[in-house]
């Protein structure tokens, strides 16, 4: 069966956008949901963000950053190759309505998750501000697409090569300090970034949605690998999330759990690197 890759492009260092034939997922996907894939019989199952869909063509667009063995293998696939297993859409769709002034904060590949949500928020009538951050100007992804849908786009880079020199949290803090009216905040990116944003909004009781990239296996609530502590309760990112009220999330625990298999992941990556070189 498999899902065929019909388009593939490098959009930032180590970040790819691929289009994959997956008619059932394309028909059903809503902003905020994700897919899980497995590349071959020996592969692991990993969750990935769906950037966009084309139900007519039966195609979904996936954005991924090369970080471990599975994403390295995905990087090595060419247009025409098939992904053995692809299942979705998983997780709950984002709650979309006209909140008023919405601020979407995207760090790194988090942009891929933010983009469809921001687009839906804009369509629902929100005044949309997007804060887009990356390590360097090269690492800013989807800048053009986000510029098209947002009323205001703030760009920042860690090295100052484009936009404000600094983190998204610093840009966001300025906005808060200027007492701009904000009704809704969405933050997706590295755990530390989401934590920093929530630390800013929590004292102001400003509703902040975060999307959590926990480690998953089945993605249907069956295993509990992706459990996160939210407001002192155990929640499963795959079926209760992936979005949660950021004020209640235990980011330290999430961060630790994301490192659970670091040694084994390093080993798998090294072995694959050797295989690549041997070819």
């Amino acid at each position: 069966m498999g899902s065929k890759i019909v388009k593939k492009e490098l959009i930032a260092p180590s970040v790819y956008r691929i289009e994959v034939l997956a008619p059932q997922v394309a028909k059903k996907h809503q902003a905020g949901q994700f897919v899980i894939l497995r590349l071959n019989e020996h592969g692991e199952r990993i969750p990935l963000t769906v950037l966009d869909k084309d139900p007519q063509a039966g195609v979904i667009t996936i954005v991924f950053q090369v970080v471990g063995k599975t994403t390295m293998m995905l990087e090595d696939l060419k247009v025409g190759d098939e992904i053995l297993d692809l299942v979705g859409p998983l997780g709950n769709p984002t709650e979309i309505k006209n909140f008023g002034n919405a601020v979407c904060i995207a760090g790194g590949v988090g942009c891929a998750c933010v983009y469809p949500i921001a687009k839906a928020l804009k369509q629902a009538g929100n005044h949309l501000t997007v804060i887009l951050g990356g390590r360097t100007s090269q690492h800013l992804i989807l800048e053009k697409e986000l510029a098209e849908i947002s009323d205001r786009l703030e760009i920042c880079t860690d090295d100052g090569s484009k936009g404000t020199h600094g983190f998204v949290s610093q840009v966001f803090k300025q906005m808060l300090d200027q007492n701009q009216r904000i009704d809704y905040v969405l933050a997706v990116g590295p755990v530390l970034m989401m934590k920093a944003i929530c630390d800013l909004t929590r004292p102001k009781k400003l509703h902040t949605v975060v999307s959590l990239n926990a480690i998953m296996v089945d993605g249907t609530g069956m295993c509990g690998s992706c459990r996160v502590q939210v407001g002192g309760q155990v929640k499963f990112a795959c079926v209760d999330g992936p979005e949660f009220d950021g004020a209640d999330v235990d980011f330290n625990n999430l961060s630790a759990r994301l490192r659970a298999y670091k040694e084994m992941e390093d080993l798998a990556r090294e072995l694959y690197q050797e295989q690549r070189q041997a070819k």
């Binding site: 199952r45 299942v87 630790a256």
Partner: protein
């Protein structure tokens, strides 16, 4: 063959009836030695030899009113297939079983025969019952290994389409029965491999995956189609399926792990049994790095719970290289829900049972990795609502167990994905889909359900029985024909011994 011998019962000296040949003891399956098997994931028992099987079969009394059949949730003609084994007609015996049960190689391995057919075997009053389970396993393996799989004749196509949700024991059974009756059946499976708990839950050493694959191939040969990677409730809803299918059977299982809600459960190294077993069985983490899925291999592993899943987890931990593997259970040994066979196997392998012990909290180190578990000793008090004596904490008995992996095997609840996405489908307070016990009918027209999603976590064979009953009910709805077996009430006090 010359094994045809005695009816196994030695007549008493006083009876005056002619003495029969000495009784044949219940045959034992040879198995891997404990010290050897803890180093591998291969199956523990080797199964009967042909001679053993025929000898064991000769112990059956061939009761006219066989009580064993009443203990079988899928109504296998037990004396019938055993008679065929006794006559050396092994393939025919397999076919006899398959009239009622499409998955004998699985049932022969994982059914709790000791509380079902074998418990009712009249021999068990005086000696050990006939090894019905081992015999079932033997004939199924024999048939498969001889490559003489017979595909039963399907009834003419009815033109009816039925969707089966989930490819675990309930779904596979329902699908097989419906296909035999001439219906078009499509199974929708959320994972990438069919089998449900048979592939993600039950370890290789208890149920080799090659056997599950063979049984799935048999269903495919019956005409059943299987679509993997489809999460019903997400990829497609039940109501969408109803537009294309005349009836639906939901056998999605009890796939929602329970946690204890004690401090430390989110530490690294704490697993639900589902995760621990899924990573290992479905994803083959025990073959890492040949397979990509990682799993933390503890040196000292505590598994919390007393059921079969707990035994599977603790035994898996040993095979992954644990120096110590503990079972931590809050009640006493007699209350353990695990099969006796499984507890014995676990103990032979060196698993230590910490009974009457309740975990209070899990301790982590500076990196959030598990380093220990604080437990409390319990004693048995008055019986609770389950009829088992309630464990009561002993004051001041807290102690710390140094462990680096904790597996929580205290049960599963029905997965809410389908109920939540199916308006009007009535569920119990605890999440189980409400379905008629005999027919699997739910609160929604044309929708049937059975197995763990209805009962909560139970056994493979009960799920299969529910799948079979629902298949007959669906067939009746679609064609008007009633095929449900009329089980005779067991006649009281009647002895079938000769």
């Amino acid at each position: 063959m010359s094994v045809r011998a005695t009816k196994g019962i030695a007549m008493s000296e006083q009876s005056g009836k002619p003495k029969k040949k000495p009784k044949i003891p219940r045959q034992k399956m040879a198995e891997q030695a404990p010290a050897e098997r803890v180093k591998n994931f291969q199956e523990v028992p080797f199964g009967f030899t042909l001679e053993q099987a025929m000898l064991e079969a000769s112990r059956c009394l061939q009761c006219k009113n066989p009580k064993c059949v009443n203990g079988c949730p899928v109504n296998i003609d037990i004396p019938g297939f055993i008679k065929l084994i006794e006559q050396g007609k092994i393939i025919e015996a397999a076919w006899k079983i398959k009239e009622q049960n499409s998955l004998p190689a699985i049932c022969g391995r994982v059914c709790p025969q000791e509380t079902q057919c074998e418990q009712l075997c009249v021999l068990s009053k005086r000696e050990k019952p006939v090894s019905i389970g081992y015999l079932e396993r033997f004939v199924a393996d024999y048939e498969r290994e001889k490559g003489e799989l017979k595909i039963p004749e399907r009834r003419p196509a009815t033109g009816k389409k039925i969707a089966v949700v989930g490819s675990g024991p309930a779904g596979l059974t329902a699908a097989g029965e419906l296909a035999k009756l001439g219906h078009e059946v499509v199974i929708f499976e959320a994972l990438h491999e069919p089998g449900g708990v048979l592939v993600y839950g039950i370890p290789e050493f208890r149920l080799p995956k090659s056997i599950v694959r063979a049984e799935v191939e048999y269903l495919k040969a019956l005409g059943v189609k299987i679509q993997t990677d489809v999460v019903v409730g997400k990829t497609i809803s039940i109501d969408e399926l109803l537009r294309e299918y005349q009836a639906i059977f939901i056998g999605a299982g009890a796939g929602l792990p329970q946690f204890m809600n004690i401090p430390g459960e989110s530490l690294i190294g704490v697993y639900s049994a589902n995760e621990f077993l899924t990573r290992n069985n479905l994803m083959r983490a025990y073959q890492f790095p040949q397979y990509d899925t990682p799993l933390l291999r503890g040196k000292r592993v505590a598994t919390v719970g007393g059921g079969n899943v707990a035994m599977d987890s603790a035994r898996t931990a040993l095979r992954l290289g644990a120096e110590k593997s503990f079972i931590v259970y809050r009640r006493s040994r007699v209350e353990m829900p695990a099969r006796i066979d499984e507890i014995e196997h676990a103990e032979q392998e060196g698993i230590e049972l910490h009974l009457l012990t309740l975990p209070l909290r899990i301790l982590g180190d500076e990196n959030d990795h598990v380093r220990g578990m604080v437990c409390q000793k319990m004693e048995l008090g008055e019986p609770d609502e389950s009829g088992r004596r309630r464990p009561v904490p002993i004051k001041g008995s807290e102690f710390e167990m140094p462990v680096d992996v904790v597996v929580i095997a205290i049960g599963n609840r029905p997965n809410p994905l389908i109920p939540k996405s199916t308006p009007g489908l009535a569920v119990q307070k605890w999440g189980g889909v409400i379905a008629d016990e005999k027919t699997g009918k739910t609160s929604r027209e044309h929708i049937y359900a059975g197995g763990d999603i209805v009962t909560g976590a139970a056994t493979v064979i009960l799920a299969m029985g529910a799948g079979q009953n629902a298949a007959y009910a669906i067939h009746q709805e679609l064609t008007g024909e009633d095929l449900a077996p009329k089980k005779p009430e067991p006649a009281a006090g009647e002895d079938e011994e000769e």
